[in-house]
Symmetry: D3
Subunit: 331 residues, 6 copies
């Protein structure tokens, strides 16, 4: 059984039922999500030991967040509790030409108040096959960035593969540092990076005409990185997207099938579902073509599952990778 | 801030949740709607002072109807209370080839019992930019028709622009007069009319081969009318409609973009949303091309909002008018 | 008024609301269904006397199942109660490329414990026009198969037309007999059979290159059968199917319109809805072309109705047969 | 099996969920009820043939009302359909010192438009043991009163026992006649009357110091009446009532146990549940003491059942009559 | 019509449905509340002009909060929008011996970031009869305390009566000042104070053996205060409380009836409902005995209304003041 | 941290919402419960390592049952999967004099098909402090009884304390053995037994006039048993129970406070909550008086928690043990 460790904030998501607008809702549906925890949940449904590391406030809702991750099979034994808020986000689900909207309310979370030394990374990463982080963590606070650096360096030392989702959200960086100051050291410890050309230019100054040239530029700066990956989403409407993914191993660009998702139920976490599938594919086959197909199919299925995280299993994804898009009733 | 006055009956709408048929429902969702009030709600979301004038029964449900309009930002200070019922309608929402169905239960409403003199139109219309009515009001009772005529004549006297949605529902006229007897005097006070060729022929005897010829015929009869407008709906199925709109200024026919609404949530009030958008466009720009585009985009968005009224704001509509139909998540 | 008798097990269906996966559900929606009872409900909505014969456990849920059939207009006066369970099935509704899933929990039902002689078929079938059964009943137990044979033989004796849905579910046969041993005697009593080429070969050894040759082969074995019918479903995705049907009268193959069901609400019971429409068409017109069109349109509409059974009426189906697929609002 | 015929209007009841006030409700729960139909439903749960006679509008909601009565086991074969509305009432459920409130919206119902001759009372009452009516029917319209008189006279002729719930609601009489003009002829045909001293004085001029003297006075006027009955409700609060009942056979006053209903779920129809229990007791034992105990226990249980009608069975009531008020879990 | 101005923070309240514990909830019911706004809502239902002054974040949820207050009839024309969060609180409703629990998440709210000068108190208070504040506002931030002082001084200057609910929540004071430093200047401007002996001692150093002696001590310090008031709650259990109130006018202690609230639905805001009733009573009668009875009855009714605010009207309260606790159904 | 191992079947519980009767429910709420697992969940909320051992069917609902136990903090690492059904039970919740009703549907469960040797009891019980079983397991099948005997003997060998809830449900024993044949060997391995006098006589032939004499008789037969315990429930009504508990240590009878549970939310699992509290008390203090008080208070709180299992924590129980029954709001 593969062991994957993920690290990052988990928020309570509050969403009006169905397609109600914020001011039409008299109740809000509750799930818990965060980009790294979404990856962990997905890998737990694939049968892996997925350990999510985070901190929650020490009250009933922090405990409920942990319980929900545990429900989904995530190993929560490394979660700690401390002062600070539970980060929240509010989601209004759109349709056709009406866009979905998110209102974030995540500042001053318990997670953002973690301190270097709070987590025993040697113990946490012992026996692990993979460590995954995203660019959200170093954006939250200097301490969170420092903790992350500890984790990456420990992973590198222990021979644990590292992936970073450096997809860039500029509006998160509020504590006085720029991503350009913080991200390079973290990126240097990665074996796999998810990002696009624009990110590579903005964050690391890599200018290139194509994704594959940009990857070459990145490899020159960060020689440890073996794989670059990204998804491409064509948004026909809020209800209908087309999705494909690609992975570059320094030599070859492997592309997945294009998925036509004609009746979207929930597109939040689609990228996280892709990464979980990709990591699973790489860990179990080391075949980038298989891995990118598995990841893209996983992501397509995620769009039919309510909530931030992908709750589908390996056989469901494999059937789709084999080409059965019919959605035929299974008895 | 523009001030618009609307006048007409508001009903309680009772609808099974989702796509349940009437006899599958153990609860009915409640909203309040009426063609003129729907226009007012929409304009309130656009930031206008939208005054709706109506009468409700003097009981808890009449008060709840007022409170709901007030929730949506409508100025309800001119609403009165009196004897009579709260009009109702029951809505079953269809899908694909199964049509939606409406059962009306609106007779003997408090609104239909209003009397000329009940409303102080000089005060109500003071400072107003626009007055809007529909052909439903004169169909309900002689008194309602008389009240409406008072209102239109006052608006004309005060220089308030008048729009009439004369789209014809023959089955409403039960009190002994025909629309052909009543509507001409009301129509004569209009600056803008929403209707189609068939309406113009049936109601006013205007025969013409094309909509634009029919408009010329109407202008001959009703010289005050400056604009004629209509929407065209292609009903691919109950779940998928195509929508466009046009406005004729006596010289030029301005047509909007065609909107492909592939996953309809609620098409009730789509025409009212159009009219609200059109009025807003004309009041703020006096540019018929912009106004028809704004109205059509507003109507397209309405089809994704549950309830009779359009709850979207100007920036959402403007983004769609600018051509972004992608429905991409906004954070 | 036509009288139709149906015979078979009815299960409680438990389904997460909307598109929730099994482990996301904190409540399960309840309906009652079974392939033969679904036919009866549909025929009751068409205005026929539809008598469903079954047995339930003698407790509050068995009584609730009866009450629900009675709600839908089915004549439940022949239902009996006895030991055994209420059969259940759990349904998770899929979307796009995620398939719906069924978990059956139907063994040891009260129905499977019926005994020959339990039902007075002469009385039940007196004055009936049609008797309908499916291949599920003889798969449940020897006693159920024996009861069914009694019923078919009585129908044949009384001149009641017999239809059998022999669509084959191999995993049901657990009591020691094979379908090849049991089905031929039952099939021999049929006037109409629903099945496909593969069924005819597997169950009766009829090998043929085409459906129409397979029907000829069947007629050689079972000379009473006048009609063979089947539906064809193209599963574009779990949310979008295309459906057509055909009926062969020994000479001519009649095919229906193809229905594009782009926003499926519930596809369970689509075949049962077809058969109910076909039976209604044959009973009222004896015109196979009309009957197959009526059945296919009925089935298309069923896909927009939540639950196992079709709750639409004759005028709704006739409008669709006449070609109005617009789903336009009816007031 | 006893056959009871009931006659009266059935309304759709629309109630906010739980204890929400009218203006807090975004959905309304739907049940169907009417004092006479409530008696019929209750008797159907007791295993009687309970035939309810009424008229509904000929639309989907009228059909749903019939289907709901049929669900509960009522024989609906005598229900007819015609022009007019479906009567409605809105119910807000109170608690402790906040009273429940009802808003009626029942005028112009299809039932109020029935005409003498519309119902074939000889056929309907053939073989019946009991006919039940209430003072609401003659209050609705002259035609309804005339139909009721036909029914009572037919029952008298056929030897069917007649009960009348003459509990007086003065605000219903709007069509020009007074109850004093209409009720005596109807009351004269009764074998059992439910009413109190105040009713007897106001409606028939019977002045008396005690209920039992009032009954004597009534018997002098209406010699056919054998039984007088009434319930007494002590309203400790909206959540807690005490209930008892009594029946007078002209000689003896029989009183029931007092029931302390400390956690009321729904008190609507408590009187109807009592009458159904009393009628059942009289029909099966002819023992007024047993009948009044059975009726009171039935009514007590009704207060724990949501909706207008009592859905409990004979064994549940008998256990309570035997004195087991413990509500102990039954497995 | 009386005009009352209230000033304070409004939070979104998120509560599991019914009695679910926090970790049993998959949705949270949404209402908006705050102690001063609760007073305003209640007064709006009494027919007063109730102006609530606050600041919300400028996003869809801030607008929804305003719309909800407007729904309830509050004059929201003085509400402003600015940076900062929407304050939240989570409520788990207990029963019997299980206590309700609140988790506050209100720091850094838009309201706490207001600045002196932000509100034009002369305009806001023009024509007002009463101004109401609570001790929560000065606890949130120095700026909020400063704004409040501006308001109180303006009210004093304009002759507007001032009430302060100084009930003390020590855990709110986080910005570096103590309540002992801040509250005296605010209290000095009051005409009516709600508080208890312990508050008077802890906050102002007034030591006294009885409430009435404590009031005398307070009057010595704050000569403007004419009335002192408080409620007394006996908590039999989370489901059953007893409630009474008293008011002291410097000479006489007036006490209300004791209310036995045996089936609590929602006790949040019970004190606010009392104050609203008391203020209404004083404003309309200037009779402390009537006012305290009206306030206590209002508070008792509040315990049967879900949400923070009291939605009952004057006639409902007057009936209870007259002594009718029966909760009898009103038709 | 104490480690407790529990062993037994877990069922899906399906219950109409609120107080709806079975035939009023259109959805059923889902929780998972079983007497031994309920003990485990409760102990997990107390902070213990609670390992539940069971077998589920290998499908999505079996996995959901495991996930739900994991959500509640139970160690599910010893749960296995195999053929057979998921046991079910249906629960209708009563009120006042209407009893709750349970319909079991648990035969042929995956758990009942376990075989001796299936569980590695040495590994499972290693380091454990306590093992708990109930009389339901040996009633299900000979194999289940054999597995249980293995477990008890292993526990005895390893010095793990053993408790057995031998409360007798005669209708479960269907496989050919009597409880009198099977239970003595299991009881002999117990250190604590929950049962009453009637059980002791019926199952083991111990006749005695009092509970304490019956315990002496039991100790003569089963010398290992140190503690006998039982709860006493006075069922005032389905909504109001009084509860107390006692424990006998061979010498002294320790009794708990009597709890008046006046507004029951869910009484299922009240006994399991008591046992969990008692075990916790004995494990942490070895003081029978404290343990019985802790258990009784835990059980009282359980009656306010929806579902089979008690979700309260140690501080909540300790507050109640200290005597605070006020249910006062905690902020
Ligand atoms: Ca959603
Ligand atoms: Ca969503
Ligand atoms: Ca809808
Ligand atoms: Ca709709
Ligand atoms: Ca579904
Ligand atoms: Ca479905
Ligand atoms: Ca209710
Ligand atoms: Ca009720
Ligand atoms: Ca609540
Ligand atoms: Ca509450
Ligand atoms: Ca319950
Ligand atoms: Ca329960
Ligand atoms: Ni609401
Ligand atoms: Ni599309
Ligand atoms: Ni994400
Ligand atoms: Ni229902
Ligand atoms: Ni389409
Ligand atoms: Ni409209
Ligand atoms: Ni749940
Ligand atoms: Ni499609
Ligand atoms: Ni089927
Ligand atoms: Ni709403
Ligand atoms: Ni009480
Ligand atoms: Ni009634
Ligand atoms: Ni959930
Ligand atoms: Ni109490
Ligand atoms: Ni408050
Ligand atoms: Ni239903
Ligand atoms: Ni009680
Ligand atoms: Ni239990």
């Amino acid at each position: 059984m593969k062991k994957i460790v993920t690290f990052g904030e988990v928020m309570m998501r509050l969403a009006p039922p169905g397609f109600a607008k914020f001011n039409q809702a008299h109740s809000l549906n509750v799930v818990y999500g965060g980009t790294e925890a979404n990856v962990a949940v997905s890998l737990a449904y694939f049968g892996c030991q997925a350990v999510h590391v985070t901190r929650f406030p020490d009250h009933a809702l922090g405990r409920a967040a942990t319980a929900t991750l545990r429900f989904h099979g995530v190993d929560t034994s490394r979660i700690t509790y401390g002062p600070g808020r539970l980060g929240l986000y509010f989601l209004e689900t759109g349709a056709v030409s009406r866009a979905s909207q998110i209102i974030y309310d995540r500042y001053d979370s318990a997670f953002s108040l973690i301190q270097p030394g709070d987590f025993d990374w040697d113990a946490i990463l012992a026996g692990a096959d993979w460590f995954h982080w995203s660019g959200i963590t170093p954006a939250l606070s200097q301490q969170a960035a420092d903790c992350l650096l500890e984790a990456i360096q420990t992973a590198n030392r222990l021979g644990v593969k590292v992936s970073g989702d450096i997809y860039f959200r500029s509006n998160l960086w509020k504590y006085g540092k720029t991503p350009q100051e913080i991200l390079p050291a973290l990126t240097a410890g990665c074996d796999l990076v998810l990002g696009n050309q624009a990110n590579f230019e903005e964050l690391y100054g890599v200018k290139a005409g194509t994704f594959d040239d940009a990857c070459h530029g990145m490899q020159a700066l960060f020689p440890r990185i073996r794989y670059f990956t990204d998804t491409e989403r064509e948004s026909v409407s809020a209800s209908h997207n087309r999705l494909t993914a690609k992975i570059f191993d320094g030599t070859t660009m492997f592309s997945s099938e294009v998925y036509d998702i004609t009746h979207i139920i929930d597109r939040i976490g689609g990228g996280d579902a892709y990464l979980a599938g990709l990591i699973y594919g790489l860990l179990t086959t080391d075949d980038p073509q298989y891995a990118v197909e598995f990841g893209a199919a996983a992501s397509a299925l995620k769009h039919t599952v309510e909530g931030d995280a992908n709750l589908v299993t390996v056989p469901e994804i494999e059937a789709l990778v084999q080409g059965d898009k019919s959605g035929r009733l299974r008895r």
